[in-house]
């Protein structure tokens, strides 16, 4: 038979451990505090905290070609481009840590800072 004190002790311990795991999981999940980095020709052009954006902001990149990047709260994309394949535009919105959108012809990229915890690299 367990004494009353034991039961209380066990309950408190379970709560502490559960709370611990919960907090770790919270801080791990992506989304909050996402920062997008825009690079052109291997130089950082701009860093944007995606949560501080209100409405839609546009960023223009002029390289060999030109890109228009649209930024909204929590997400970012290549909205328009005059590059030959427009694969950058087709990529659509990105929002999660580690996600990347690229315009190879213009040597432009958008990366959401942070690591994708599920994989270490993508063979694309």
């Amino acid at each position: 038979m367990l004494r009353k004190g034991d039961i209380v002790l066990v309950a408190v311990m379970i709560l502490v451990v559960a709370a611990g795991y919960y907090i770790i999981n919270l801080t791990r999940s992506s989304g909050d505090g996402a920062v997008a980095v825009i690079k052109l020709n291997n130089e950082v052009v701009k860093k944007i905290d995606l949560n501080s954006v209100a409405g839609t902001e546009l960023v223009r990149l002029e390289g060999k070609y030109s890109n228009v990047i649209a930024v909204e709260k929590g997400r970012i994309r290549f909205q328009d481009a005059d590059c030959p394949d427009r694969l950058c535009v087709n990529t659509g919105w990105i929002s999660l840590r580690g996600e990347t959108a690229v315009c190879l012809p213009n040597k432009a990229m958008i990366v959401i800072e942070g690591e994708d915890t599920a994989t270490d690299g993508i063979a694309y």
């Binding site: 004190g5 451990v17 690079k39 394949d85 694969l87 990229m109 994708d116 694309y124």
Partner: protein, 347 residues
């Protein structure tokens, strides 16, 4: 006594909690990400000389691009192509090595991997300002110029020549693999034990991750943005290289024209596949083999890969079915967020 054992259990529960929260503080490393060789190159190198090693590897890649690109001023491949049908040209041992490897894989793959597709690649111009659909006569003419047997190599004098005028080699299907192999050698030279390099989807890893676990490499979903995967392979000291119809392409009248040209037809390979990923030791091999397997299609591509020791592969066909080599069964982790793919374990 009882209270003691309860406390013991508590500590058992809390240990993994402490370990997971501590391990989040990562091993010191150096990361770089730059555009070269027509793609993005990402390095992540761990350990003491990480920055030095990463920078030296990136410099090496810039050097390889200079030697082997089609149009860079001073490129050896440009020199070889400009002298096609005219004269032998002297090349660096590195370029000779890549040319020889290319021919080796042409032989092995029945000519489905062939670096002399240069004139065809140029005619299609996929992802350039000049992309277009060449006419039948033009393609027929250019297919007749495509033959790796016309690439003559004299290793003893480090010279090579293309037999016929108008012939061109294009190392787009193999140079990135070579560059990945070189990068890993540079890391090793600096005493690095743990590193990963990704050249536009051509991945190679050194050792395991700093925590001793294997690297988890995602296999791209061919119909989703980069980063969306259909599965994961766990690797140590290996390369993982994909070829597919989604890397460079344009769509006209709802037909997808992609960058992997079938040397036999002169047209983008139409083998019923969307992508092939090859996993093996050498990245130059994997680069050539993934292209060959993609052109060959599921049946013959699988046959080719299974005939080689230490080579595994993942095939994704146009029906969104995923097949793996025998050696990957039970190891390939099917993880398809899109819920559109089917993993076929038994063929």
């Amino acid at each position: 006594m009882r209270t003691k054992s309860i406390i013991k259990i508590f500590f058992l529960l809390i240990v993994p909690l402490i370990v997971t929260s501590c391990s989040r503080g990562e091993e010191p490393h150096y990361s770089m990400q730059e555009f070269h060789m027509g793609t993005i190159i990402t390095e992540k190198v761990y350990g003491e000389n990480a920055e030095k090693a990463a920078r030296e590897a990136m410099d090496k890649i810039v050097g390889i691009e200079g030697l082997m690109s089609l149009d860079a001023e001073g490129s050896e491949i440009k020199k070889l192509n400009d002298n096609s049908g005219k004269s032998w040209v002297e090349l660096s041992p590195e370029t000779i090595y890549v040319l020889e490897k290319s021919k080796e894989f042409s032989d092995l793959s029945g000519g489905t991997f062939d670096i002399t597709v240069g004139p065809l690649v140029k005619a299609w111009g996929i992802s350039t300002d000049n992309q277009r659909i060449p006419g039948d006569d033009e393609l027929k003419n250019l297919v007749s110029l495509t033959d790796y047997n016309d690439l003559l190599i004299d290793k003893s004098s480090n010279r090579a020549m293309l037999k016929r005028e108008g012939q061109m080699v294009d190392l787009g299907g193999i140079a990135k693999g070579y560059a990945a192999d070189c990068a890993i050698e540079i890391y090793k030279k600096h005493g690095i034990k743990s590193a990963i390099i990704n050249l536009g989807g051509n991945v190679k890893v050194l050792g395991s991750k700093p925590d001793g676990t294997p690297w988890k490499i995602g296999i791209q979903n061919p119909r989703a943005p980069i980063g969306k995967i259909v599965g994961i392979v766990e690797v140590t000291d290996k390369t993982v290289v994909s070829s597919g119809d989604y890397q460079r392409y344009f769509i006209e009248d709802s037909v997808r024209y992609h960058h992997i040209i079938d040397p036999r037809t002169g047209r983008p390979a139409d083998s019923g596949l969307m992508g092939v990923t090859v996993i093996t030791d050498s990245s130059i091999d994997a680069d050539a083999l993934s292209t060959a397997a993609f052109v060959l299609g599921l049946e013959k591509g699988m046959e080719l890969v299974e005939s080689l020791d230490g080579v595994e592969a993942v095939f994704i066909d146009v029906d969104k079915k995923i097949y793996v080599t025998d050696g990957l069964k039970g190891k390939f982790i099917f993880e398809d967020e899109s819920k559109e793919y089917e993993y076929v374990e038994e063929r």
